[in-house]
C-alpha cells in the first residue's frame, strides 16, 4: 500500500458516478456547505469537557444521517481509513502530563487532565469527520468546489481548484505507471538508490506536468478561453434554504447554551 491517499482517492472517485442520495437534493449545495461549516465551527469552538453539547450535536448528526440516506457502509469505510490517519496523533494526547494520575506504567501515565483533553479532542474529531464526510458524500466534488464562492473564495482560486481536481486522477495514474516501470526494472530494490530513483521520477513527472500545463493552456485558448471561466450565478435563496440555515444556527447556539443549564 503506497500511501493511504490512494486509498481515499479511489473511494472518493468511484462514488460520484451514480448514487448520491436524492432526499437531500432539495437544499442547495451552498446552503449545505454553509450549514456544515457552522456546525463544524460550533463543534470545534466548544470548550473542553462540555460533553452535553457534543451529545446534543451528535444526536442532531445522527438524525441528519438518517435523513440524508447516505450509504452507511461507504461512510464507515472512509471513516476507518481517516481514523488510522489521526489515531497516532490522538494517542499522543492521552499520555500527556497533567494533574491527577489515573494509571501509571513506567514512564507511561494517564492523568485526569490528559483524559479530559483526549476525550474532548476525540469528540470534536469524530463529529467533524462525520459531518465533512456527509457533505462530500452527498455533493459531487466539482459541484462542491464550484460552490465555494459562497465562502468568498475568489473565482480564480476556484478555477485553479477545479483544474487541479480534474487532472488529479491523471497525474496519480501517470506516477503509478512510472513507479511500476521502475519496480519492473528492479530500480526500487536497493534502499540507497531508491531515493535517487524517486527523485528522478518526480523530476521527470514535473517536466511532463509543466509541458502538459502549457498544452492544456493552448487548447483552452484555441477554444476561446480569455482568462476567466464562467461561474454559475448564484440564484435567489428559497425559503427552505433560509429555514435550514436558521435552524442550523439556532441548533448550534442551543447546544452551546444547554451546558449551562
Amino acid at each position: 500500500m503506497p500511501h493511504s491517499h490512494s486509498h481515499s482517492f479511489h473511494s472518493h472517485t468511484d462514488h460520484h458516478d451514480s448514487n448520491h442520495s436524492h432526499s437531500h437534493n432539495t437544499i442547495a449545495p451552498t446552503t449545505r456547505i454553509v450549514c456544515t461549516l457552522i456546525m463544524v465551527v460550533a463543534i470545534v469552538a466548544t470548550p473542553d469537557a462540555h460533553w452535553l453539547t457534543w451529545l446534543i450535536y451528535g444526536c442532531g448528526i445522527i438524525v441528519l444521517l438518517g435523513m440524508s440516506q447516505v450509504d452507511l457502509f461507504k461512510l464507515y469505510q472512509r471513516l476507518a481509513v481517516e481514523s488510522i490517519f489521526v489515531s497516532v496523533s490522538v494517542l499522543g494526547i492521552l499520555f500527556r502530563d497533567g494533574e491527577g494520575i489515573v494509571w501509571q506504567w513506567g514512564f507511561l501515565k494517564i492523568t485526569l487532565t490528559g483524559l479530559l483533553v483526549f476525550g474532548s479532542v476525540l469528540c470534536k474529531l469524530g463529529l467533524t469527520l462525520v459531518l465533512m464526510n456527509l457533505l462530500t458524500l452527498t455533493i459531487p466534488i466539482p459541484v462542491l468546489l464550484q460552490n465555494l464562492s459562497i465562502l468568498r473564495v475568489p473565482p480564480l482560486l476556484i478555477a485553479i481548484l477545479g483544474s487541479m481536481y480534474r487532472y488529479l486522477d491523471l497525474l496519480v495514474e501517470e506516477f503509478t505507471v512510472m513507479r511500476r516501470a521502475a519496480i519492473a526494472r528492479n530500480l526500487l530494490a536497493g534502499k540507497r538508490w531508491q531515493r535517487l530513483v524517486i527523485g528522478n521520477m518526480i523530476g521527470s513527472l514535473f517536466i511532463r506536468t509543466y509541458d502538459r500545463g502549457n498544452r492544456i493552456h493552448q487548447s483552452m485558448v484555441s477554444r476561446g478561453y480569455q482568462g476567466a471561466l464562467p461561474l454559475p450565478k448564484s440564484p435567489k435563496i428559497p425559503w427552505r434554504d433560509r429555514l435550514a440555515f436558521g435552524f442550523t444556527l439556532s441548533f448550534a447556539i442551543f447546544g452551546q447554551l444547554a451546558f449551562y443549564h
Binding site: 500500500m1 500511501h3 488510522i84 535517487l196 518526480i202 517536466i207
Partner: protein
Amino acid sequence: MPQFSILNSAFLAMHIPDGFLSLPVLGVTWIGAIGLIAISLKQVESDYQDRAVPLMGVCAAFIFAAQMINFPIPGGTSGHLLGGTLAGVLLGPWAGSLVVSIVFMVQGFVFQDGGITAMGANIFNMGLIGTFGGYYLFRTVRNLVGQGLRGIVVGTAIASLFSVVTASAIAAIQLAISGTVPLLIGMTAMVGWHVMIGVGEALVTVATVTFIWRSRPDLLYTSSKKMNSELLR
C-alpha cells in the same frame, strides 16, 4: 509491513486535524493563510496571466501525486515527500505557496486529510513557512555558495531540511498554545521525527532538482529581475 507504512506516514504527515487547536490560534493562522493566498493569487495572476488556471492546477496535482510515494528515511521507517521547498524552488515563492495551499485545500475539503478549521494553520505552516520561507532560505544559501549546480544542491538541501523542521516546531508551538500537547513533549516528538523526515526530504528534493537542472534548466524558477534581463537581451 504495509499497514505500518500507513501509520508512519499518518504520523509524519503533519496535517493538523480539526479539534486540536484553540480558537485564538485558529484565528491568527487563518489571517496569515488568507493573506498569503490573496497576495500569491495576485502575483500569480500578473505573472502567468491566462496560463494561471491550467498551469497552477496541474502543478498542484503534481505535488499531490508526488506526496503519494513512500521512501525510506533515516531511522528505519518510511516517509513521503512534503514538497514545500520543492514547489518553492521549481515555481518561485508566490506560485509555489499558492500551489501548496491548493493542495491543502483539496486534501481538507475533498479527502478530509487535515481539518477544515485547521486548514489555516496547515497552510500557514507548510505554505508560508515551508514554501515561502523555504524558497528564500534556498535563495540566500544559493547566493552565498554560487549560482552553479553546487549552489542549487546545497541551497535545496539546507532549505528543505530547515523548512520541514521549522514548520514542525511551529506546529508544536501551536499545539502547546492550544493546550493540546505540552510544549516539551510536542517539541521533542515533532522536531525529533521531522529532523529525520527532513533528511529524507532533502535527499529526494536534491535528486529532483538536480534532474531538472540537468535535463530542462529552463523550467527552474528564476526571479523576476533575471527574467526581465533575459527578455531584454
